[in-house]
């Protein structure tokens, strides 16, 4: 459903606003890498903008620190509807290795509704591009819930006979 909505609502260009919610800068560098001519996310119409009021997509890198929570909420409200939130990096997806630190509230999804998660520490630029392609509906995602993953295995198992 979300994909359908994406195709309708974002059929032209996605403008990104990139925010660091407490990252070590590894993920931020990779996001910038994706916008360089070598990986060139701009061929999908993606553009980095300097103000959340111009953006369609909020890219969040890093675990959410307690200090950043109010700012992140204000930032989310500043992005006009319809909007997507993409969590880049293991930290943003669930807190990474900092998930239980005293100053971390968790992944971005503890504060904002996250639409797409991109794994990795930091994710390769290709992984981010793959996430972009999945978000735009160009590619299918490569991971599936465990119940679906297990199906071929369990059908192969031979019942024990005596």
């Amino acid at each position: 459903m979300l994909e359908e909505l994406c195709k309708k609502a974002f059929f032209k260009s996605l403008w990104l606003y990139h925010t660091n919610t407490g990252a070590c800068n590894g993920c931020d560098i990779e996001v910038i890498d994706v916008l360089t001519p070598y990986y060139d996310a701009e061929r999908f119409g993606i553009k980095l903008v300097g103000s959340p009021r111009h953006a369609d997509v909020l890219i969040c890198c890093g675990p959410v620190t307690r200090q950043v929570v109010p700012a992140l909420k204000r930032l989310y409200e500043a992005v006009p509807d319809p909007k997507l939130v993409v969590a880049v990096g293991s930290c943003a997806c669930g807190g990474g290795i900092w998930y239980d630190s005293y100053n971390i509230v968790g992944g971005v999804d503890t504060v904002l509704p996250v639409d797409y998660y991109i794994q990795g520490c930091p994710p390769r630029p290709e992984a981010i591009l793959h996430g972009v392609a999945v978000a735009l509906g160009l590619l299918d995602k490569q991971v599936a819930p465990e119940a679906l993953r297990q199906l071929p295995d369990s059908s192969e198992s031979v019942p024990i006979e005596d």
Binding site: K141, P145, E146
Partner: protein
Amino acid sequence: MILSKLKQALICLLAGRVTLPYPAKPHPPDEGFRGYPEVDVDKCIGCGACAAVCPARLIKIEDLDQTTRRITRLLERCIFCGRCAEVCPEDAITMTRQFELASDQARQDLTHQCEIFMATCRRCGACYQPATPLDRIMQPGFRSDEIDRGGDLCQYENVCLESQQAENTTATVGEGE
């Protein structure tokens, strides 16, 4: 000024097309890249070494009952450091080169759960893993004919290492006194 601009234009023209055709064509990472840690459940003996070293502490070990150990991996937090694969005594974990893990429901898509058959210690009742495959077969519940084997267990059969050590220590202390 104009010359430098011309020089820049020349450099750009000579470089040609540099953009990677990535999402259209696959671009596999180099040898040694660490991606999704794949677990071979048949090899895993449930020792818990991976859970002890994981820096993200995402491997959770629970004993459901005295013969079942459930290992849950919340891989959405994995940083692909490969420590779990390094310490695993059975080489049950391999770091694959799969990096395309983007999803819209990371929690469901990247959680891995398995249940391992374990033995029960006759002394303390805790789950433990017998040392050799032969010992595993000797455990109650592993074979259907184990009911017939009652009564002929040796002193340390079906006793976990901690209980054995505790018993030995007590025995030594007792002798010393």
